[in-house]
Amino acid sequence: MESTQQTESKIIELKPFTDEMVVNMGPQHPSTHGVLRLELRLDGEIVREAIPHIGYLHRCFEKHSENLSYPQIIPFTDRMDYVAAMNQNWGFCLAVEKLLEMDETKDFAVPERAEYLRVLICELNRIASHLLSFGTYGMDIGAFTPFLYAFRDRERLLLLFEKICGARLTYNYIRIGGVSEIIPMEPGSIDEQNYLDEIESFLDYFEPKIDEYNDLLTSNSIFSERTMGVAVMPAEMAISYGATGPNLRGSGVDWDLRRDEPYSIYDRFDFDVPVAKDIPELGAVLGDCWSRYKVRMDEMKESVKIVRQILAEGLPDGPVMADLKAVRPPKGEIYYRSEAPRGELGFYIVSDGTPKPVRVKGRSPCFSALSALQELSRGLMVADIIAIIGSIDIVMGEVDR
């Protein structure tokens, strides 16, 4: 009650200056990354309040899941964050696998080869996701060229995914207990060698390109004027809103689940976690739009590093699927989180011992990041709203689920 009274008094206070205008931005707006509607309360060009209205892409993922068996839910997780669908598959499978491990009568472990394939493919997917984020952010701000370059390179990644799982966007590749065998790849075969060589040639091509992108967009003075010092999110605010992933690291919090709470086999790889810093000589402030964007650019390099380590080691022999006849987890509940490209992706599953879950809840990193928008945008210009939405990198499929 107190807060409403405060805002009301504020409005009355401001009223003598100018009339408030309400502008609807979206849902069909190219810069809202999907179908986000923003209700902008404007005072001239100053944003007094930007209220996000969500739900235009709601497809009942959680309710659907209650009527489907566990393997059937995986294609639905593809449709959550469709830009990084491999990571969404993995997040769900990790949760179900943890639930299966709770059953002590059955011996269950994900094969080594499957773990390596998962890390390999998910890190490539992270690059693809950050490339899209980088390209569309440039386009939002007004630079069209980086978008084309990003999609050119993303296309090569999509071809790699297509070869291993048969689809370009909704992969359904990572399964409970391993990875899909829909396109068989025998250990040590010529197919595997060709595939790994192809990834290697992509990395050789892609690594210098990141510097090129930095020349093209990151250091561009028009771009940095639009993003540096805009919408500063301090570390406390990022934590209190539950912002995770690059948004949190952009505020200077050194936190990455892959390193701090390693799941799967991430503890075997050597990689850095890029964290944003104050760069006074450039004009970048810790926690501004540019810092969040820069963390993503640096993360691509780290992903390349992880993939290179896998290529140097080679994929281990063995099966890619655990010996799992039916997915029937024991009675219980689990919350398990993993580091998706947009932040911490969590799945909460309640099982009653039947092949179908009683409840599935997805914790979406984009939803948490979007909730900070209202506070971030207060007092900024309309044009800065575009810069904020691009920098928190939301995918509406995941916000609405």
């Binding site: 070869k163 048969g166 909704t170 359904n172 899909s180 829909i182 250091s219 561009n220 003075s221 028009i222």
Partner: protein, 239 residues
Amino acid sequence: MDRYIRNIYKGVYTVLVGMRITIRQFFEPNVTHQYPYEHDFEKKRNVREIPKGYRGQLYNRIEDCIGCKKCELICPVDCITITGDKLPKGEQLWDSMNVIHLKDGREIIGLIEGEDKKLNLDEEMTVTNITSRQGPQEVVDRLEQSGDESRTQTISGSEVSRVVTRNPVVFYLDQFDIDMSLCMYCGLCTEVCPTECLTMIDTLEGIEYSKFDRTDLIFNFDKQEMYGKDEAETEEAAD
């Protein structure tokens, strides 16, 4: 004033840095192609191939289908509808046989010799009783077209792509419909199929099949003539 000029210099300089990257692209081959007009998926260097195993349109080879309804069960969006009936007791439509799919696309129907039913694709296999009497008419026609007249043939394992063992059918399908407008291309149904008769077409035809009418996207795979029914009879039943 000094800052103003420095800003202009900085702006122009950083744009030129970007321009240098763009200029380089002038001397490189095109990345894009004119998609609906350029269909040559293999000849052009910059045009991609559709990889093997791509998840395209669903296709059911009904001759091999045993009507187990596993695909109908696993489908998350219920796009497959199967109805069927059991044959009267004692009747059967054909004896058990092997359908041997060769790598060149031919199919041979017969019985593989040997007591061991386990198939070893590395060795030669002798197929006896290659028949045009048994089996669905469709397959028989295809067999005759391929010019295979001998009843016994030895096939080296390297030629064979896969072998399907068909047991006598006691269950026949009245309806096998797939609504491709509902399909989410997850490929779960093709994985559970025990006879590998339900596949996803991984060629251009499996990707470009758009229709003007939504009802045209419901594909019927059942073939009543396969069960030896007359066409007139089928038509009567349809009326």
